[in-house]
């Protein structure tokens, strides 16, 4: 486990907003599928994604999984108000993160007016996402869920209408409360309806052909 310790300004992103000045941090790369932290573990560190993707999830005793959210480059994750993590975080693909100690970050935050507001804003943003996702999970059909997922990912991607998904069909399914087969079928349906296209040989490069149509499906 190699960690290069550095001290430099945080990149553009949520951590920069929070700290506003150089924060000492380490960089680390997690290989695809490895755990960053587990549910119930001490929440001593905070993570900023440089590249890659992270999934955070909860499990039922028999293994059923619900993914709360996907975190992409620029996103921060792992900051808790309490002492322990409330869910598990794993690298979806090889993921490079910048790690800061929670205490150090919180001290920085304490020292400036905006910092506190930013912290609250961060939690609020998570809550807002969770509220929207509850509506999706509880009340949308499979097709609506998948359409909403595509639009959400599209908004977070740099190139509009064109995306390369880091996560598998199973990940998407566990995010949307479906099975991977249902996700696959929904994508095929959307492809047949000319609302999207698969790019290249892989099935993770998607091009949205009809964002309006997808938005209508989303209800």
């Amino acid at each position: 486990m190699l960690i290069r310790t550095t001290s430099r300004p945080a990149v553009d992103g949520q951590l920069a907003v929070l700290a506003g000045e150089p924060v000492s941090c380490s960089e680390f790369t997690y290989r695809r599928g490895t755990e960053v932290f587990g549910e119930g573990e001490a929440a001593d560190y905070v993570y900023l994604i440089v590249s890659g993707a992270i999934r955070t999830y909860k499990l039922l005793t028999d293994g059923r999984r619900q993914i709360n959210s996907f975190h992409l480059p620029g996103d921060m994750f792992g900051l808790e108000n309490g002492a322990v993590h409330r869910f598990t975080a794993e690298a979806v693909i090889e993921t490079q993160v910048r790690i800061t100690s929670r205490r150090g970050l919180l001290e920085k935050i304490e020292n400036q007016e905006e910092g506190r507001a930013s912290l609250l804003t961060l939690v609020t943003r998570n809550l807002q996402h969770a509220e929207n996702h509850m509506l999706l999970l509880g009340r949308k059909t499979a097709l609506e869920k998948v359409a909403a997922f595509l639009l959400e990912m599209d908004e977070r991607q740099s190139h509009p209408n064109k995306m390369s998904l880091p996560m598998s069909r199973r990940d998407i399914a566990d995010y949307l409360g479906l099975t991977l087969e249902t996700v696959s079928r929904a994508l095929s349906t959307l492809r047949n309806d000319k609302m999207l296209r698969f790019d290249g040989q892989t099935q993770r490069q998607l091009v949205l052909l009809d964002r309006k149509g997808l938005a209508q499906l989303d209800a």
Copy 2:
């Protein structure tokens, strides 16, 4: 619309924790089914429930409803970080609330160290509930959902194992991502399995007969 303006210490509960000293507030009673505030409206006031029950929810364009949470006596609701409410709040039954201006409350909070932490704690608690509820909505079966609901309500009731639900089967269904018929059937199943009993002539007075069994169902 009659509002009696008073100035007195907040009752035991979250508002008291937040303010820590007398907050000027008004009392008001909402009749069953009336709206306290709507999604998108300005979030100028904060509410503390004295008696009754509140549901907060989001709607899809075609009327499908997802209830985020039920608020019971002692709970606070309506406090937003942004300027507008992100969901609608309605009185489930006749509900008495204490209303405070958001600005006044936030000023009070600004003036004390603990206040800020409490505000963050409040949002975090909401987020935590949302995370657990996403797991329920996305991955639990109808029976597991209803069992979880009963246990959640039981924990928030004063008399353990005995509760009188303020909300209808439809409300429960919209909270759990089910139809009211499925909720009714699940309750009948649990009654047949001797895990609960209906008390009196109404179908909203429940007695939990086997909390362990319910907890096992909850997975």
